[in-house]
C-alpha cells in the first residue's frame, strides 16, 4: 500500500468499515512506516478530542420563550390553547346575547301590558269628555 492510500483510509479504519483484508494491509503498513503511523496517531488523538467535547445545556425557559414569540407573531392565533380561549369567548358572547334577548322579550311583554293598560283609558276618555 502507498502512503496516500493508507491516509485515505483513516476514516474508514477509524469507523471500522474496512474489510479484513484491507485492514490487515493497512496495519502492516502502519507498523513499518513512521510517517503514516505518526499521522494515524494524530488522527486518533483528534478523534478522541472531538468525542470529548462538552455538550452545553440549552438556555433556560426555551419553550416558554418560543411560545411567547409565536404568540406575539401570530397575534395569539397559533396554539390550541388560544382556540380554547376563543371558545370561552364565544360561549360568554352567546350567553350575553341570550340574556339580552330575554331582557328584550321581557321588556316588550311588559310594554305590551302597559300599552294595553294605557289603551283602555285612552279609548275610554273621549267618551267621558
Amino acid at each position: 500500500m502507498e502512503h496516500q492510500e493508507v491516509k485515505d483510509l483513516f476514516t474508514e479504519y477509524h469507523d471500522g468499515d474496512l474489510s479484513d483484508e484491507k485492514k490487515k494491509e493497512l496495519e502492516t503498513h502502519l507498523q513499518s512506516c513512521d510517517e503514516c503511523r505518526t499521522e494515524w496517531q494524530a488522527f486518533e488523538k483528534t478523534m478522541n478530542e472531538i468525542s470529548g467535547l462538552y455538550h452545553f445545556a440549552p438556555p433556560q425557559d426555551l419553550a416558554k420563550n418560543v411560545e411567547h414569540k409565536i404568540h406575539r407573531r401570530s397575534r395569539g392565533k397559533f396554539f390550541g390553547k388560544q382556540k380554547g380561549n376563543n371558545i370561552q369567548f364565544a360561549l360568554i358572547s352567546f350567553i350575553l346575547v341570550l340574556l339580552f334577548m330575554l331582557a328584550y322579550l321581557m321588556l316588550t311583554a311588559v310594554n305590551e301590558i302597559i300599552v294595553l293598560d294605557d289603551q283602555a283609558p285612552d279609548t275610554a276618555q273621549p267618551i267621558d269628555q
Binding site: 476514516t11 474508514e12 483528534t46 478530542e49 468525542s51 452545553f56 420563550n65 418560543v66 411560545e67 396554539f79
Partner: protein, 194 residues
C-alpha cells in the same frame, strides 16, 4: 413514519397542542442547541437561532409528511437555519468592512486563517478548557460543507444514513466530506496534540 408514538405526537402538533410543542422542545433542545453552537460559535447568536429553528418547526409542521423521522426533519431545518445565518453574518461583516460583497470566498479564507493565528502557541496552552476552546475554534474555521458533516457525525453521533437524509447528499459524498474534515482538523491540531 412507522413509529406510532411519533405519529401521535405529529397529530398533536398539527392540532396546535401547546403541550406537545413543549414536549418536542424538551426532547430536542440539547442536541439542536449544541449543533447550532458548534456551527455558529457564538452563544448569543446560537440561542436566538435555536428559537427560530423551533418556530420554523411549528410553522411548518403541517407540511411534515413523515418521509423521514421527525428528528431528522428538525435537524434539516436546523442545518438550513445555520447555513443561512452564517451567510447572513458573513455578509453583514463584509458590508461593514467594504462594499465588495463578492469577495466572500477570499475573505472567508482570510478570516479563517486569522482565527487560527489568534490561537495561543502550543507552549502557552494550559490543559483542559483551553483544548475545548481550541477544538471549537478549529471546527469553526472549517468550511461549512465539511464542518456540518463533522459535527453531525463526530459531535452528534448521527448515522451516515441520517446525515444523508439531513443534508440530502449521497452516502459517498458524506463519507468523503467527513474524511476531509477530519484530516483538516487533524492538521490544525497537530501542534497542540501530545
Amino acid at each position: 413514519m412507522n413509529d406510532p408514538s411519533q405519529h401521535k405526537l405529529v397529530k398533536q402538533l398539527q392540532a396546535r397542542d401547546a403541550h406537545a410543542f413543549e414536549q418536542l422542545i424538551e426532547t430536542h433542545q440539547t442536541r439542536i442547541y449544541n449543533l447550532i453552537y458548534r456551527m455558529i460559535g457564538n452563544r448569543e447568536e446560537s440561542e436566538d437561532l435555536l428559537q427560530e429553528v423551533f418556530i420554523t418547526v411549528f410553522k411548518k409542521i403541517d407540511s411534515f409528511r413523515g418521509d423521514s423521522s421527525l428528528t431528522t426533519w428538525i435537524y434539516k431545518i436546523a442545518t438550513n437555519h445555520c447555513i443561512n445565518r452564517k451567510k447572513y453574518l458573513t455578509r453583514r461583516k463584509h458590508y461593514a468592512k467594504s462594499s465588495y460583497s463578492d469577495l466572500s470566498e477570499k475573505e472567508q479564507a482570510e478570516s479563517r486563517n486569522a482565527m487560527m493565528e489568534n490561537l495561543p502557541r502550543p507552549d502557552e496552552m494550559a490543559e483542559g478548557k483551553q483544548m475545548e476552546l481550541l477544538i471549537q475554534k478549529a471546527i469553526i474555521s472549517l468550511e461549512d460543507e465539511y464542518k456540518i458533516v463533522l459535527i453531525l457525525r463526530d459531535v452528534q453521533n448521527l448515522s451516515y444514513d441520517e446525515i444523508e437524509q439531513i443534508l440530502n447528499v449521497p452516502a459517498g459524498t458524506v463519507k468523503s466530506r467527513l474524511h476531509r474534515a477530519r484530516m483538516a482538523l487533524k492538521e490544525k491540531l497537530i501542534p497542540y496534540l501530545r
